[in-house]
């Protein structure tokens, strides 16, 4: 590196000072009339626009959120304890933007896009405003490509497509974040850039997420936008919009991105806090009137773009935490109605060992089926029907009367299929593996085994197919659908494996 001498620096500075633009600076200013709770009321700023970025002293930024006849209400993004009443506030004429680009990948940033990991500054050339209009109808096309989560229970029965918005809803401690992390880990090889937006979570939980993803080698395609519980409400409010803008960069550059908002109930609470402090009238559950628009404008930005626009996609997986399973509260019903389906996670299922704790009966995907891989769809459709019948029968069978053999058989099958849908954390499956195991389950190859042996059966089955049936897997990968030939070969292979497994079990005893 060439050394720079001290007098050269002086020279540089002298030039800069000599050529410095000495024109009059024109600013639109206002003064702070009152301050507190992260909210400032300003006098002046006649021409300020809603949502405009304001510049407070000491380099603190703010957002003009409510414009009234003779005052402006602004939220302060940063430490407001340094500000005083009477301080001057300047207009900037811009909307709040975050840096976007390749440099963001693998980083942990705050809601303003500033790095909060220890990897130095972010090399990013461009930035995008956090509030952008969602693509119009002409710019979109239907969702057709699968967005695999690697979870049998979801991919086979509630498939998600690229560009879809699928809500993940459940009480606390039901594995909502685990589903998201599994999805991120599963997509390391699928050229899908994942943006995980943590809203109002504990810093320790966020650190845990980063740690898990790093260990799983999944930070190479992931951006984490974190607004922790210790940050002021405005940061929580803008975090999902910032995450969405970061995702939109990849969508608009013809790639596929997935953005996860964990979780939007905390986001709504942060917005409620801001709104109440700005003295907007409270509505149901004290949320302001525009809380629906708050989430709809965010989730509408998820889209599959038309080929003319490059064909990129942005999938959204918002998370809502319910209280005691109450999905008819205000925010859950709002977000359910905005999204293209929901995945219900239930405490009872979780505690009885069904993990992921997906309630298959209540979960739906409104657009994903046309996106799913045909082979998975074929086995998934039978599975869904079988499970629905099982649940109905299981409710009756609780009365404990004698059951005819057909019913017995259906109950047996159901218990095994339920067991089959369990999946350990951070072990995503490929769609080929899912097809094979679910085919085995729906075609009754599990009926002869004890429920407790199913896990071992599954693990062995993947090994067996990988080692002994590579040709079959290759054909399946090529055709992507089950035809008569593949079915026959699958039956043959499964028959062989089931016999081997039976012999193994006998030998173990």
């Amino acid at each position: 590196m060439a050394q720079i001498k001290a007098d050269e620096i002086t020279q540089l500075l002298r030039e800069q000072i000599a050529n410095y633009d000495s024109k009059v600076q024109v600013d639109e200013v206002g003064t702070i009339t009152s301050l507190g709770d992260g909210i400032a009321r300003l006098h002046g700023l006649d021409k300020v626009m809603a949502g405009e970025l304001l510049s407070f002293p000491h380099g603190i930024a703010g957002l003009a959120l409510s414009l009234e006849e003779d005052s402006v209400g602004a939220v302060i993004l940063g430490d407001y304890t340094e500000l005083n009443e009477g301080d001057e506030v300047k207009r900037t004429g811009t909307i709040l933007s975050v840096p976007v680009g390749e440099g963001m990948i693998g980083r942990v940033v705050n809601a303003l896009g500033q790095p909060i990991d220890d990897k130095g500054p972010i090399a990013s050339q461009s930035s995008l405003p956090i509030e952008r209009l969602a693509p119009g109808i002409i710019d979109r096309q239907p969702v057709r490509e699968p967005m695999a989560t690697g979870l049998k229970a979801i991919d086979a029965m509630i498939p998600i497509g690229r560009g879809q918005r699928e809500l993940i809803i459940g009480d606390r401690q039901t594995g909502k974040t685990a589903v998201l992390l599994d999805t991120i880990i599963n997509n390391a090889k699928n050229e899908l850039i994942c943006i995980y937006c943590a809203i109002g979570q504990k810093r320790s939980s966020i650190a845990q997420v980063v740690q898990t993803l790093t260990e799983a080698g999944a930070m190479g395609h992931t951006v984490i936008v974190a607004a922790s519980a210790s940050e002021p409400a405005p940061m929580l409010y803008i975090a999902p919009y910032a995450a969405c803008a970061i995702g939109e960069y990849f969508r608009d550059s013809k790639r596929h991105a997935l953005v996860m908002y964990d979780d939007l109930s905390k986001h709504a609470m942060a917005y409620r806090e801001i709104s109440l402090l700005l003295r907007r009238p409270p509505g149901r559950e004290a949320y302001p009137g525009d809380v629906f628009y708050l989430h709809s404008r965010l989730l509408e930005r998820a889209s599959k773009l038309s080929n003319k626009k490059g064909g990129g996609s942005l999938t959204a997986l918002p998370v809502i935490e319910t209280q005691a399973g109450d999905v008819s509260a205000y925010i859950p019903t709002n977000v359910i109605s905005i999204t293209d389906g929901q995945i219900f996670l239930e405490t009872d299922l979780f505690n009885s060992g069904v993990r992921p704790a997906v309630n298959v009966g209540l979960s739906v995907s409104r657009v994903g089926f046309s996106a799913a891989i045909k082979a998975v769809k074929q086995v998934g459709a039978t599975l869904k029907l079988d499970l629905a019948q099982y649940r109905e029968l299981a409710a009756f069978a609780q009365f404990g009367s004698d059951l005819d053999p057909l019913t017995q058989k259906q109950l047996n099958r159901g218990a095994r299929l339920t067991e089959l849908l369990k999946q350990p954390q951070f072990q995503p499956l490929t769609w080929q593996q899912q097809t094979v195991i679910l085919f085995a389950g729906t075609q009754g190859y599990l009926d002869d085994f004890q429920v407790s042996d199913i896990r071992a059966f599954e693990v062995g089955l993947y090994k067996y197919f990988e080692n002994a049936q590579t040709a079959l897997l290759a054909d399946l990968t090529k055709k992507k659908a089950l035809d008569d030939d593949l079915r026959a070969r699958l039956h043959a292979a499964l028959k062989e494996y089931a016999e081997n497994f039976k012999a193994e079990l006998a030998a173990a005893k």
Partner: protein
């Protein structure tokens, strides 16, 4: 300033313009009343006290009016303020009314900050220049502030034209740090 202040001021300004009242006389009378209001704490206490009945307060106002000789409209404004229990803010209403009238006449208040006291000639030139900039008649108020070092800072409404040495140095500092 409370939100109702602007409403009273605007309504009064409407009346004044509609009835084509003598604004200079009104201004003087308003000053007279405000001087009385300021100097007499008894008057303020009486008018603000909610325990005193409104007709009684208005009777006092009319007795005062015999001496002050207020225009009918101004007397009515004060009566309405008393009746609506807003008389406590009469000073703000008066200030807002004056600002409103200036705006209607196309006169904009301008605040000019200089580092040194200016001569009559310089002031005239500055006011003319600022008037051209604002595109309106201006009412300039000059203040001294040595901390801006040199140059001037002109404030028209919420727009600030910063031509001070201090401002330039601050901007240079920012540019050097950013660069």
């Amino acid at each position: 300033m409370a939100i109702f202040v602007a409403r009273y001021a605007r309504a009064f300004a409407d009346v004044v313009t509609q009835e084509k009242l003598d604004t200079a006389a009104l201004d003087r009378q308003l000053d007279d009343f405000l001087a009385t209001w300021e100097s007499s704490s008894e008057l303020r206490e009486l008018f603000v006290n909610p325990a005193v009945a409104v007709p009684q307060k208005i009777a006092v106002l009319d007795k005062m009016n015999a001496k002050l000789g207020l225009l009918k409209e101004l007397r009515n404004l004060l009566a309405v303020l008393i009746k609506n229990d807003r008389i406590g803010e009469v000073k703000d209403v008066a200030a807002a009314y004056r600002a409103e009238m200036q705006e209607r006449q196309g006169i904009r208040p301008v605040e000019i900050v200089t580092a040194r006291e200016l001569g009559e000639k310089d002031r005239g030139a500055l006011v003319a220049g600022v008037g051209k900039l604002a595109g309106a008649k201006i009412q300039a108020s000059f203040t001294l502030d040595a901390s801006i070092l040199g140059g001037t800072v002109v404030r028209i409404g919420s727009t600030v034209y910063d031509g001070s040495v201090r401002g330039r140095l601050d901007r240079l500092k920012e540019a050097l740090i950013a660069g």
